[in-house]
Amino acid sequence: MERTLQPGRLTRSLGWTVICFLVLPILVIFPVSVTDRRFLSMPQHGISFEHYANLFTSPEWLGSIGQSLVIGIVSAAIAVTAGTLCAIGCWRLSSRAGEIVRAVMLVPIVVPTIVYAIGIYRFWVDLRLLDTYTGVILVHSVTGIPYVVITVSTALAGFDARLEQAARSLGASVPQTLWRVLLPSILPGVVSGAIFAFIQSWDELVIVLFIASRAIFTLPRRIWDGINEHLDPTMAAVAAILILLSALLLVLDLAIRRRREG
């Protein structure tokens, strides 16, 4: 295959041009984060690290990062547990019903967020869950489940069902089979799902603007606040650090994939 339809030089350079287009805005964030002005802009007279200093000394920003971490980790954990079990269940069913369940699970990423936000806001008003960790974590778990179902289902597609049957026939219980046989081989899918679930919680703004007020002030909400104040460049510093962290996570993810692929 590699040889049969090798893209020409033109095609290849066009492909890389698109990649440059993708990376371009990311590269802009780094110079903006060291701007010497007090609003989001390219540096004018020199570079300054005051926005990084502000980020690391401000209790507000640090508090928001902490909250987002807690909410992201807990909701990712819930989403991964429920989503993985669900994907395995559907896979085991291997019937029309399983397919329908999988399709239903995907709806949360398809519905425009603003519509869901108003619905869950009303629900949380009724249940007195506004502005609580529980409220935000539950919502982010639910919106994270689809990503896990997708990635785990993909991983399961490559798994030989006979392995599970063999384990069962050798006397292993269902939980044992799952834990010892199935999980290790779909782990990359589970990990990718966990990362996606975490990131979508970490980056979620629209719903949080509805259901959080005094106690919960996540990072996206802090960034939003900074944008509305005076285009606070601290958000560029946050973004720059986040990009570096994401890159790190991505390299990690790719390394896991590579190991899986041998």
Binding site: Y121, R122, R214, N228, E229
Partner: protein, 365 residues
């Protein structure tokens, strides 16, 4: 999340510059008085009044309102007041009221809020037996809202591209001053300024000739950009995207500072508007909300808000307390009031919902 910011929402930003200089010292003082107040009232035998929750638009307005209002209120009444900066949008208030679980007592609103929420039965009427009407600039106390501060919509311009002070009519003269112009993504004040540019005298604006205003604006629509948040209006002028724009005076003040007066503004031909306290229907603290409004009518707190964010005091008694250097940016200062038009709340009550939609449709078409 709404991209169209209200003035109240925007006041947060004004603090960006001054927070460090003014408030840090003030906050320390504030904490001191708070402690004194608590000690003075904490031991009282009578039941403490219910906690009052004030919702505003977050950012530095939380600190500024704490300093200007919470501290004096707690000192005066022995009650407790907290500020919730999560943004009391009309949609949120409606949801709370419909669910019969309201968590806010007072919301930082404006005619856009009371005009939509009041007629829909989602607000309590202001109780003027508790709130003192004489402590409000005449014409700014309404059924569903009472003036909390004043602000203006003004014309700002880029002096590097416009040498002489432009008139409102120049805003529509693309030959005289080529370049893009900036308006707010909302009909409020935009229609008034457009009509004045078209020759309608400031005191004969209402009832607004909406078709005439819309037609005037539509004529230069190709060269218009529209802002949703105050920060947006500020950055569009600052970065040279537009040559002039209609925005809040508080942003004009910041632009003068940001750019060493390369961008400047005038109150001439502006529109004076009120920021309003409104009370959601079935608020938890009941009448205590009205007591809180009354407490916040004290002129001292209102002057503090002017110093911190540029919001003009609502109480005429505050005028003598305003330092002369702040009068230049005070939309309610007599010399500034003289050159501006004043918004008509009754007209907004009756027409705003419909007219705003027409305005948005005109933009989108």
């Amino acid at each position: 999340m709404t991209r169209l910011q209200t003035f109240a929402e925007d006041r947060a930003e004004i603090m960006g510059l001054r927070r460090r200089t003014v408030l840090k010292g003030g906050a320390a003082l504030g904490v001191g008085t708070l402690a004194v107040g608590a000690a003075g009232f904490g031991g009282g035998a009578q039941a403490a009044p219910k906690e009052v929750v004030v919702a505003n638009w977050g950012g530095d307005a939380v600190k500024a309102m704490t300093e200007a209002f919470v501290v004096p209120y707690e000192k005066a009444t022995g009650g407790k007041m907290v500020i919730d900066g999560s943004g009391p949008s009309n949609g949120k208030i409606k949801t709370m009221v419909l669910a019969k679980n309201v968590t806010w007592d007072l919301v930082d609103s404006g005619l856009a809020g009371t005009g939509e929420l009041g007629p829909a039965g989602l607000l309590e009427e202001i109780d003027y037996s508790i709130v003192d009407k004489s402590k409000v600039t005449p014409g700014f106390a309404y059924k569903y809202g009472v003036c909390n501060y004043m602000f203006s919509t003004v014309q700002a311009w880029d002096t590097s591209r416009i040498k002489e002070k432009p008139t409102l009519a120049d805003f529509f003269d693309l030959k005289k001053y080529p370049g893009k112009r900036l308006m707010r993504k909302d009909s409020q004040a935009m229609l008034e300024l457009a009509l004045m540019a078209d020759g309608v005298p400031a005191d004969k604006l209402y009832p607004l000739d909406v078709p005439r205003a819309l037609k005037k604006i539509a004529g230069i629509k190709k060269d218009l950009l529209f802002w949703g948040t105050g920060a947006e209006s500020q950055s569009m002028l600052r970065e040279g995207e537009v040559v002039m724009g209609w925005l809040w005076h508080t942003r004009g003040v910041l632009l003068q500072k940001d750019t060493n007066k390369k961008i400047t503004f005038t109150f001439d031909g502006g529109l004076l508007q009120p920021g309003l306290w409104a009370v959601p229907k079935g608020n938890p603290a009941g009448k205590q909300a009205m007591v809180a409004i009354a407490a916040m009518q004290a002129p001292e707190g209102q002057v503090k808000l002017l110093a911190a964010m540029g919001n003009g005091p609502a109480n005429p008694a505050a005028a003598p307390l305003v330092p002369p250097e702040l009068n230049a940016i005070n939309p309610g200062a007599p010399e500034n009031v003289k050159v501006q038009a004043k918004i008509d709340a009754d007209w907004y009550q009756a027409n705003y919902a419909k007219v705003r939609q027409q305005f948005l449709d005109m933009i989108a078409s």
